[in-house]
């Protein structure tokens, strides 16, 4: 192996970021490959759920990790994927394909001049100060040649836009690999009786998080009004025949969101559930407090229907009367579970890893998936942010030990 050893981290969510930052602290060079145009993964969509007090949701841990990865000088390649990985005399050779990125987030200062001149409205504000270009609306992309519209490129003062950008593949050598490829949220359209996709005021919890993060307020998508009565439906895409596992984070985020909505905008929440799962430290105390502010109903609703005046009707069997009741809500939140990445199979065959019964990446106790390959975070199964961070750091430590050992 030429030069100092370098570790490949696949995935720029909290687990991958934690791993890359920890590798830096262990004086190992790291290359972080992320398939999205920005780092942060799903955590970058999550909101602080503090009411008067911190609710220990850990969403704020992301910012710190992003800062540390920048400080440690970790090499970040995005939006990119590892298209090939093979063992070569004790180390790994990876082909990393960087997708064409007409608008480079690393150079974008968020001035918005590109969006102002775009005739097709194809440039919109992404997270924070970044902008993103949607190729399906872009006139340059549609023209299929380099002679099309280039107004945004001309307007960009920092040279962040290169409409002629082409994918680039680089080959690199690594001493170890950490796979932190994360999860995919359950697609709520898979439970059509809850009306997601058909009824505008049925949202996923992830969308609620994102709304709170961006606007600090939750409003009904249909009329922009703040909801007074919110229903959370638990276990959407968890603990069913296709998903024979508990997603472990949904009771925590739903109850914390319910509390945040109560404290910040006075909304009253009802949680429909099968079993409340334990989360966080001091759980008994936390749950006791929440029982006073959130209505807990142990019953899975049958369906969600539109009401006559824009409200939503949720039908469920009342535990006491045994009647089916239709209760009115202003907003229904589906607590979608954490499902394995559809690409796990391909990744596993490329890296020579195994999958568990549900389709997550399998690993030994130490997070070792194969010689020199370590896995961390929600790629191995549902978990929260704090655990993903801890696993990322553990994988970095194991990888450092591996690199130290293999070098003698």
């Amino acid at each position: 192996m030429s030069g100092s050893p370098r570790v490949l981290v696949i995935g720029g969510g909290v687990a991958g970021l934690s791993a890359a930052a920890a590798l830096g602290r262990l004086n190992l060079a790291a290359t972080l490959v992320e398939k999205a145009p920005t780092l942060g993964g799903f955590a970058s969509r999550l909101a602080c759920k503090a009411a008067n007090e911190c609710q220990r949701c850990s969403a704020c841990l992301l910012e710190e990790r992003l800062g540390e990865v920048a400080r440690q000088g970790v090499e970040v390649i995005l939006p990119a994927e590892v298209v090939e990985l093979r063992r070569d005399s004790g180390c790994f050779r990876a082909a990393i394909e960087r997708r064409a990125l007409p608008l480079d987030p690393a150079r974008c200062t968020g001035c918005g001049q590109c969006a102002a001149v775009c005739p097709a409205g194809a440039i919109t504000q992404a997270e924070g100060r970044l902008f993103a270009l949607d190729a399906t609306g872009c006139r340059h992309a549609q023209s299929g040649s380099d002679d099309g519209c280039t107004r945004c490129q001309e307007a960009c003062p920092t040279g962040a836009i290169d409409l002629a950008a082409r994918p680039q593949t680089t080959e690199k050598e690594f001493a170890a690999v950490i796979a932190a490829t994360g999860f995919t949220p359950f697609d709520a359209r898979g439970k059509p009786h809850f009306g997601y996709g058909a009824l505008p005021d049925v949202m996923t919890a992830l969308e609620v998080e994102q709304a709170l993060r961006r606007h600090d307020r939750l409003v009904r998508p249909s009329d922009g009004r703040q909801p007074a009565r919110v229903a959370f439906i638990q276990c959407v895409g968890s603990r069913d025949r296709e998903h024979p596992y508990c997603s472990r984070v949904c009771c925590a985020y739903a109850l914390r969101l319910a509390e945040a909505l109560r404290a910040r905008q006075g909304a009253q929440s009802t949680l429909f559930y099968i079993d409340i799962q334990r989360f966080g430290r001091e759980f008994a105390h936390t749950l006791e407090g929440l029982r006073h502010t959130v209505r807990l109903v142990r019953m899975m609703p049958g369906d969600v229907q539109p009401g006559p005046e824009g409200q939503l009707l949720l039908s469920y069997m009342d535990g006491r009367s045994h009647d089916v009741v239709d209760e009115e809500f202003d907003l229904v939140v589906l607590s979608v579970g954490m499902a394995p990445q559809p690409a796990n199979g391909e990744l596993a065959s490329r890296l020579g890893l195994a999958l568990d019964a549900a389709g997550f990446l399998a690993a030994s106790a130490g997070g070792v998936a194969a010689h020199g390959i370590f896995v961390a975070g929600a790629a191995t199964g549902p978990m929260g942010i704090a655990r993903a961070c801890a696993e990322g750091e553990r994988a970095a430590w194991e990888a450092a030990r591996w690199v130290g050992g293999s070098r003698g």
Binding site: L26, A59, C60, P244, R281, A390
Partner: protein, 678 residues
Amino acid sequence: MASEREATRVRQGIGVVVCRCAEQVGAEALLASLRAAAQETPEVRVFTEVDDLCHRGRQALAELLAATSVDRLVVAACGRPQLEAGLTAALDACGLPRNMFVVANVLDQCQGLNGAAPAKAAAVLSRAIARGRNLRPIEAVSLEVVRRVLVLGNGPTAARLAAEAAALGLEVVLAGAEAEGLPSGVELLSGARLVAFRGQAGRFEAELEVDGESLRRQVGAAVVAYDYQVRPNFDLYGLTPSEAVVSLTELEALLATPEGMSARLAAQGLSAQGLSAVVLLSGLREEAHPAQTERLLRAALALRRASRPVYLAVRDVRVGAPGLEALYQECRRAGLVTFRFADTIPQLEQDAQGRARLRAIDEVLTLPVDLPPALVVVDEALEPVPELAGVARLMRLSLDAEGFPQANSVHRLSVATNRAGVLVVRGSRNAAATEADLAAAAADMAAATATLAALLGEEALTLEGREPRVHLGRCTACLTCFRLCPHGAIRITSRAEVLPAACQGCGVCAAECPMAALQLPGSSDDALAAELRAPVAVPAPRLVAFGCRRALEALSAGAGPVGALPVGLQLVEVPCAGRVGLTQLLDAFEAGAEGVLVVACHEGNCRSEQGSRHARLRVEEAGRLLAEIGLGAERVRFETLAPNQGARFRRLMRDFETRLAALGPSPLARPHAEGRES
């Protein structure tokens, strides 16, 4: 040759570097405005513009330092994280201390201000220059470490940890636990008790008592690794242990041998083959843990395989752990019957022979349930061992509400405590996990070993020197700092002494010291006052927001182009909101602010544990003083924000701006409202 020249050259003055990215946020006038701001200060010797400072432009920093004699840099660009690596590398290359730079985040602070951007940018830079002028070199110092670890524990976790630490090449003192087959380099002190613990990370002194004898050991770090204590919940259910009422551990013992269950049934005069039911009780009166559920379900499966009727009576089936839902489904397919009680608690009666009976109304079917089982099994609570309380007191560790020596904070990630060099693992930090969740145990072990390797891997530890300096003439050893320090970093001899390897640099002590005897490098009272008084020309109302660097950076970046921060807003970075003393709050008003705001972390999220609370109390006090002098308490505010609440930050700032505009100028601000003070 180069180093000789370096040694003889006297470095002095400020080099200002503007990244041209920053120029783009406003009009073309911005750069001119920045140049003018820099030229106002005689200490600024160099002013230069660079392209792409966070990437290609990095080299320019080193070149600038090599070509000139400035000893500090003020950079007007974007956020500090992107620039820090380049800045420290450039400073290192010239042999300058790493703290000799200030980042003025012009890009984020001027977003969306349009015409007002040049004036704002100039103000941001002027304040950064004022801060830069007050920078004092902080030399990193080296602390020789004792490469020995104290592991306190009572069982397998402590023994495993001792072996892991020994594998790192560290000496280990394993106190408390009985253990066999330990590697060489581990000194086993079975039955030892900690009686005193002093010092700081890298150099602690532990006093232990073994068989009435006192032993002293120098250690570089300590790991608290007691396993849980298990307590069967008989009392909670009003049951007395008997032949027919057993704990989960006892049931497991019965199931461990083929004849165990039959013998137990025979003892009660029941046929071994009969359909004698078993009722498992879990979490009906307390909150069960998945680790308990896993063991209950394994036992249930074994019982069902022997064709015994098994009922599980619970409030919630706790399946939030790897593989547990699948195990529960398997149990259900095998015939386990679950009764869930959300609103009611089943009645449990025990007869003279010790046999228990469960009566309840099924909450789903609303039908009576009456179970006279052959065996009732109660679950168990996981508790901190009694030794933990004493250890925590001696080590000055914060406890959570359940008595575990690790505060319930998201920042005490995995094994860290409030004291550097003292770690907690597994049952000592309330981190129970199911047996199937092997990764949970592995993560704690790895985190502890990695921390030990980082701390004690080398002969010496390099410290940044961020601890407050003690003014010995002022310190009266009043113990305020000792009492308030969340990190156990103060030692009182004849005066206060700050232990550099324990100090996290939060400044809670400095803010509360009644004699102003503690001054933090980079955040001293004088430096903050100078920054507040930096002459600027921005439209009223002038607002000052104090906050920690971590939060202010992320919050201003998150504000985005659609909603600008108030043009009159001055962000003042402090290590922690707890650093903001009454002095700073009043200084801000004296310097012309019309409103002052302290941005703190939410309660329970503060890394310095009580920093937010101290900040809030001081803001309340400042409010009372302002009311008294007729300035109005509403001019000072306390807000809690997480770094990802950029949208909320923007809204709060604008609300405050509007409110202050309505209040009119502060009488103290008037002399400064027009132009600049001298």
